[in-house]
Symmetry: C2
Subunit: 222 residues, 2 copies
DNA sequence: GTCTATATTTAGATAGAC
DNA sequence: GTCTATCTAAATATAGAC
């Protein structure tokens, strides 16, 4: 259960084991569906250590979310930096690539258990409860504003409100791919694979870029 | 708390009160975050009656989901019937209208508490746990196949797998609007309102139609 | 059909030894 | 830092009177 996402392959201490086990449990059953005892058992440590290190189940949950959000947004900003080093006026497709790839790729990362956090992120980003909304705002509103501003620069005539709408639609598309529930495969009798990450990213980019451009085109007509 | 969505304004019996209260509670906190006592209290009935009428919390949850799914899909099929009575070859936009309006409108229906079920549907349709996937398949795979087939008929060159992908992307967009978390308003400093249902439906239609057509266009290039 | 009372289990959290 | 033991509260569910 070593997590090579945050650390080297050094032996994990109890706190790190708890974080990884918590991520696995929370991603399957959500906050309320997960028990602190199950987390401790999954981590192979004593149940009392959870409170020793994190104080409460609530704080553990928030720590799990923040750990991976920092990583995903770090990758996004790294890709964005490379892009802006090449051109000062990146295309919408290139921006969507930098935005979508880290999350969708994360969800398809089997060797490093990225799938676990991907599903947790679906819980948080799609959730409508107070905690989900707060954590989404805290961890993702900053990166959202950065990309929304770049969208408006990349698409002539794209109004601020349409950039926001398009951004949120793009997020929801990414979330639907990250969950990997197998529904696409079911509905297409196997033709639409859930496990081809490059195919998924490509289709999300094509769909979202066309959608955002269409919102801008309508705006110009008003 | 009368529900005029399923019945007339007749006085509700205990079972119906429980269904309505359960819908409200489940939509806020999900399955595990909701207690049977809170449901009974919200319904104003004795806690033992929940088990008398529904057997278990699990069966109550499934009944709540099925009740509204039948209603939403009924509206979709009614709109679809009107559409197909007018033309044998409806446009993609007209199909998306028939598909999206019932759900998104439901989420914006304040007077009839549709918002409650809208959020519950977000839980179920966006959830990755076993129960969510099973209930989604049971209640929505039928209507999904109907619309996917119509999409392929409406867009020349749209492959089956791209129709499935486009359908699921459209669903995820609708879900993001149904939740009404206020994030669009936050990110746009008020410019992008969360409460204008016709605006939301229009933007979802424009975005999804352009996205699906773009998938078809790429398919032809392969 | 509706109630009270309660059985049974399990939850999150803590005290205190080591 | 880690353990055992346990507190306190709350959960789902049921038995049985009315």
């Amino acid at each position: 259960m070593a997590s090579t996402l945050t650390a080297l392959d050094a032996p994990q201490d109890a706190a790190e084991c708890l974080l990884d086990a918590a991520e696995a449990q929370f991603s399957e059953n959500g906050f309320h569906g997960t028990t602190t005892r199950a987390i401790a058992a999954g981590a192979g440590v004593n149940a009392a250590l959870l409170h020793y290190y994190f104080g409460s189940k609530e704080q553990l949950f928030e720590t799990v979310v923040e750990r991976r959000a920092g990583e995903i947004n770090g990758r996004r900003r790294a890709l964005l930096g490379e892009l802006l080093a090449q051109t000062s006026a990146p295309s919408l497709e290139a921006l969507l690539e930098a935005f979508l790839r880290p999350t969708i790729e994360f969800g398809h990362d089997t060797t490093r258990d990225g799938q676990r956090y991907a599903r947790l992120l679906v819980h948080v980003a799609a959730g409508t409860d107070e905690r989900s909304r707060r954590l989404t705002a805290q961890n993702y509103n900053g990166i959202a504003q950065e990309f929304i501003a770049l969208f408006t620069g990349a698409v002539p005539g794209l109004a601020q409100k349409d950039a926001v709408r398009g951004y949120l639609f793009a997020v929801s598309i990414a979330l639907s791919l990250m969950g990997r529930t197998g529904r696409a495969t079911d509905l297409s009798a196997g033709a639409c694979r859930d496990d081809d990450v490059n195919q998924a990213i490509e289709e999300a980019k094509i769909f979202a870029a066309a959608g955002i451009r269409a919102l801008a085109a309508r705006q110009r007509d008003d």
